[in-house]
C-alpha cells in the first residue's frame, strides 16, 4: 500500500482505502480501479491524496519513447535547423522543440496503448 498525491495518480491504480469527500460522503470504494474520470472527480472534490496498491504504483514507470521514433525526430530537427544553429537562441529553440515534441509523442503513445 502507498499514499499517493493526487497529481501522481495514474489511471489503472487500485484504491486500497475508500475515499470520502469533505462532508464525509463516500466518493469511491476500496478496490476501485481508477479511471481518468475518477481522478478528475477526486480533483474536483479537492482530495489531496489517496491510498493505492503499491504494486500498481511501481508498475507506473515512466514510459520511454521508442528509440527509432526518437532518432527520426532528432534527424528531422537537425535537417530543419541545418545552417541556423550558429546562434545561441536558435540552439535553445531547437532544444525546446525537441523536448516538447518528445512529450507530445509520449502522450500520443500512452493514449494509443490505452486504446
Amino acid at each position: 500500500m502507498a499514499v499517493v498525491k493526487l497529481n501522481d495518480l495514474k489511471p489503472g491504480m487500485k484504491l486500497t482505502e475508500p475515499v470520502f469527500n469533505i462532508n464525509g460522503n463516500l466518493l469511491l470504494r476500496e478496490g476501485v480501479e481508477l479511471t481518468a474520470r475518477h481522478i478528475s472527480i477526486l480533483k474536483a472534490w479537492g482530495v489531496s491524496q489517496v491510498e493505492v496498491d503499491s504494486q500498481e504504483k511501481t508498475d507506473q514507470r515512466k514510459p520511454e519513447l521508442n528509440p527509432q521514433v526518437l532518432c527520426a525526430l532528432q534527424e528531422r530537427l537537425r535537417t530543419k535547423f541545418f545552417g541556423v544553429l550558429n546562434n545561441e537562441i536558435m540552439r535553445e529553440i531547437m532544444r525546446i522543440a525537441e523536448k516538447q515534441a518528445i512529450r507530445k509523442l509520449m502522450l500520443a503513445s500512452t493514449r494509443e496503448s490505452r486504446g
Partner: protein, 300 residues
Amino acid sequence: MGRRLDTVLKQIYTLPTLPVVLTTVLELIRNPKTSAADIGRVISKDQILTARLLKLVNSAFYGFPRRISTVSHAITVIGFDALTNLILATSVLDIFPKENQEGGFDYEGFWEHSIGTAAGAKVIAGFISYNGKEELFVAGLLHDIGKIVEAQFMQKEFLKVREEIHNNAGLMVNEEAKILGYTHARIGGELIDKWGLPASLVEPVALHHEPQLAREFPRQTAAVHLADILCRAKDIGYGGDNKIPPLNPVAWESLGLRISDIEPIMERMETEFEATISALYPSSTSERGTPPGEQKWRER
C-alpha cells in the same frame, strides 16, 4: 526569369477584396467622431459576422468570466482596434481557399502555419508587454499571404519555386528570390497595403524575413519574425518548406526578451493555437478529422 514585381502587382487588383463591412468599419475607425454604437450598428447588420465575432470574444481566446452577447458590449470590453482585427481575422479566412486541391498547394497546412504564427505573435505580445495583441495576431495570420497570391496567380512560377524547394531542401523565401527576384513577404505587404490596412500590419508582413529593415514598426516585425520561427520549430502546420529561417539578431534585440522566455512562449503557443483553431473553425474536429493541434506528422 519571372515577371517583374510591378506586373505581378497589377494582377493583385484582381484578387479577392475585403468584405464591404470590413472596409466600412476600417473607414469608420479612421474617423475620430465614430462611437462604439456606430460600429456596432454596422457590424450587427451582418448576422453571420456578428455570431462569429461573439463566439470568438466568448472563446478561450479571451477567457472572459461573463458572457458577452452584443457587439457594442464586445467593443467596450475589447476596444475598437481589437474588434477590427478580429473581423479582419475571420474575413481573411473566408476569402481564400481552405481546402487542398489535388497536387496543389497545401492550403490546410498553410492556414495551420498562419494560425500558429498568429498565436505565437499574440503570445510574444504578452511577453514584451505590447498592448496590441490582436494586431500582432493578425500580422501573424497574414504574414505569408503572399504565398497564396503566388499559388493562385503565378502558378507556373510557383510550381518552379516548389520544385526548387524540393530539390535543394531550401527555404521558400530564398528560392523565390532566386527564381522570381522578389518574395512572398513583399507581395503580401503590397496586397494588404492595397487593401488599405494600416502600416502596422503592412511592415511586419512585408519584412518578416528581413526584420532589420523595419523602420516604423520594428518590434511588431520582430515579433512576427520570431513567431514564424517558433511555429516552424514546433511543427505546427506547413509553411511551404521544411526549413527554419535564421533568427535575425537585430530583431531579437529589439524584442528585449530573455532566453529563458523561449520555453514558456513555445509552451503557451500550443494552447493558444488550439483555442484559436476551435474558435475560428467551430466544427474543426468533425470537418478536419483530427482534433486541433493533433495533426499527424505528415510526410512531406
